[in-house]
Subunit: 444 residues, 2 copies
């Protein structure tokens, strides 16, 4: 019989659900605190999401953006890690229900992050693919390369065009980066690997509902992103909503249609709440309402940080802070500090978000970066982008692997990791469900 | 409708089935020959098998030992690659039947390699796992780490012991390397990552039917391997056959039993033949009979090389050449040379195997190497091992990634890639079939 088997130390137990940016920064800041930290995650690794798009476009190995949580916290003596799925919470009993049994807590911090938001459109959810997990990124990579392989076997121009048309929905940093990366595949790799492919048949669309790309950044950055994407051959459709998608044809809000088998949804994220709370503290976008101390509304010892938390104490962000890493990191550190203060009988600090700026890449060596009033575009921004991402990457080994990969890519215009580990089926949905061909893996 | 779409050039067409050591060396040697080369493989990458055991013990990323075939042959103008499964051959019509349609050939070279040989033992095949493919290696890695995670949740000593007992069957280089690598995990990593785990409960068995490990090498090497493995804490059982395994208990030939949920089969390989040949030219171990020119018995324009080919022209190897990379590489080069000679009206050369020696590692910095009469053990052999493997690794990028990983491992005793990308089920067989938990991947 499985049980969490976490020893009782008599110290207050802080249970953190989620090993993302918020969870791990909170846990790390508690390393010297007089508490027992229990960190739970459904995976045994922390996923460095800003570089997910690189995995899906064959620029990085999946392993280099995934960091074993036990490796991160190996030396932290007051922390116990358990790989577990959380099923729900019973706040009245300070008890968390998980797949490995019940865990009693003194403080609970929900840091479960977010997942793709299809905004209720069932058809798109069924036929498109999001990009919020390592598996999805690998699936996208497998799928894109598979389209190239299969196109070689076709003769019908219409079929070829549909197969080689990639549509990314969502003009934020993720969508812009994906579109740019697929463009680079087309420009630099495909002519070498697939000289027989009619690459003029390949189209990449970037569809954005609003009037500009990178809507959360300045107009300067939006303009740079548009210019850069178009120069890479991306067909940018602004002020364009997406209506329906059935796996073959995408219907746009303006009535136009695009024949595509590959729809990648990067148009929104929503929170992943835990069961057990009253509906009134949950928002339609899945976020949980918290006060300026990250305490979940109505509770004293349950907190939430990062994407899952909706805090509206800043007039700059009337609909809650953006669902970005910096917010999660800063809230994690605040909660750690406040927990220590509480135990010492001192008063807590409210959250004050320091906007450290935004970054987005547009292809091989361009990016846009802005910090406060400073806006940078071009190569210099790209170096900053690389430096910032590298510094964040936990673990020396992963930094080295990523750095090696990038140096290689930069100097050779190559995309090293374009293997398909598993073969999938003819479209993304079947790929997701039956990614293994059993007959291949059977021992003959 | 899918077809191979390979242009007809009027040149003789050489179809190679299999992108392993044999197939790629043959294809490369034909780059200047007046032929059209068609290379087929069910995957789009070449797998560097000697390092598979490193993937399964979390020492290397899967991607770093897989080399996109299109990347390898990008510049070879006379070669067409198609990712395809071969279904059979119709020799009378010089036609190959594949999953992407029929391909006509002038010369057919079968280089399909080998797969795990369970020697007809169905129960073991069902409950154990081989290690001949990238997917199996990743599954083993996921599985081993999962056992550690789950053991934390158990209280029953018997259950813990069964979960932490790993049995490797087969005392050749693969088995010795696997056992050594899992030992290193136990010695260097587990105390850091799993301080709560009762590691004295963890046993690693290496079971070999014959009287010594590394039976194809000298007695000096066997002795070094035994000594080295035992010093790493591996329980080596020589002169021990395996009788039955039901997923819980392994029954040995001597009547003893080992309670284990993890049986890794490295005890033999067999050829993977193509359908369409008479049974009389196929051997029980799946190999196809060929003459000294690698021609399949009874055919002039069908050849076989590597593991799949049984050639008995050398009294040193009365039961055919060993199923090792060097044989495949040398036969591939010979066939290339002979094809060119034939087209020039010259006579062919028979195969003469140059035994360039054997290598096997035993743990972190020991190995045994022998070339002719020279036998080396210890650290020096290990450096040679590293150098040989690195040089063989195709592609600069992969060399760099592997080198980076190894340097990191050597200096930090760490195993960087111990993430579980997909969660599996409670035992290896279910893991193999349903490696994805659909509920995890569903967008919520």
């Amino acid at each position: 019989m499985m049980q969490p088997n976490i020893p009782d130390t008599g110290l207050p137990r802080v249970v953190i659900v989620g090993g993302g940016f918020g969870g791990i920064n909170l846990a790390k800041q508690l390393r010297k605190a007089p508490v027992q930290v229990v960190l739970l995650d459904r995976n045994n690794y922390h996923l460095f999401q800003p570089l997910l798009y690189q995995v899906s476009t064959a620029g990085l190995e999946p392993d280099s953006i995934a960091f074993p949580l036990r490796g991160i916290f190996g030396r932290q003596k007051n922390l116990h890690f358990r790989m577990a799925e959380v099923k729900g919470v019973r706040p009245a009993e300070n008890t968390l229900e998980t797949g490995i049994g019940e865990i009693h807590y003194d403080y609970l911090v929900i840091a479960t992050g977010s997942n793709t938001n299809f905004f209720g459109n069932k058809l798109i959810e069924q036929h498109g693919i999001g990009m919020k997990s390592l598996i999805e990124a690998v699936q996208i990579r497998n799928y894109v390369i598979k389209q190239f392989e299969e196109t070689l076997l076709l003769a019908d121009k219409e079929e070829i065009k549909s197969k080689l048309t990639f549509v990314i929905v969502g003009g934020g940093p993720t969508g812009v980066e994906m579109a740019g990366a697929i463009s680079e595949l087309r420009k630099y790799i495909l002519p070498k690997d697939y000289p027989e492919l009619p690459l003029d048949c390949m189209d990449i669309y970037l569809v954005e509902m609003g009037p500009r790309l990178l809507p959360t950044m300045s107009e300067f950055s939006s303009a740079k992103a548009l210019e850069g994407s178009q120069r890479l051959g991306v067909k940018v459709l602004l002020n364009t909503a997406v209506k329906e998608y059935d796996g073959q044809t995408l219907l746009l809000g303006n009535g136009e249609k695009i024949a595509t088998k590959s729809l990648i949804w990067a148009a929104g994220v929503k929170g992943i709440p835990i069961k057990g709370f009253d509906k009134e503290i949950l928002l339609p976008n899945g976020r949980i309402m918290v006060n300026e101390y990250c305490q979940v509304k109505g509770f004293d010892n349950i907190l939430a940080i990062g994407d899952i938390a909706q805090m509206t104490n800043d007039p700059r962000f009337p609909r809650g802070y953006p669902m970005v890493a910096q917010v999660a990191i800063q809230q994690g550190k605040l909660v750690a500090g406040n927990l220590v203060k509480r135990l010492q009988g001192r008063s807590m600090q409210p959250f004050k978000y320091k906007d450290l700026g935004s970054l987005a890449t547009i292809g091989r060596n361009k990016a846009v970066a802005e910090i406060g009033k400073t806006k940078l575009g071009g190569r210099f921004a790209w170096f900053i982008w690389m430096a910032v991402h590298l510094m964040s990457l936990l673990g020396f080994r992963n930094k080295m692997v990523v750095l090696t990969n990038w140096i290689y890519r930069y100097f050779t215009f190559d995309r090293g990791t374009r293997i398909i580990i598993k073969r999938g089926a003819a479209n993304i949905v079947k790929l997701r469900q039956s990614i293994l061909h059993p007959e291949q893996e059977e021992v003959s």
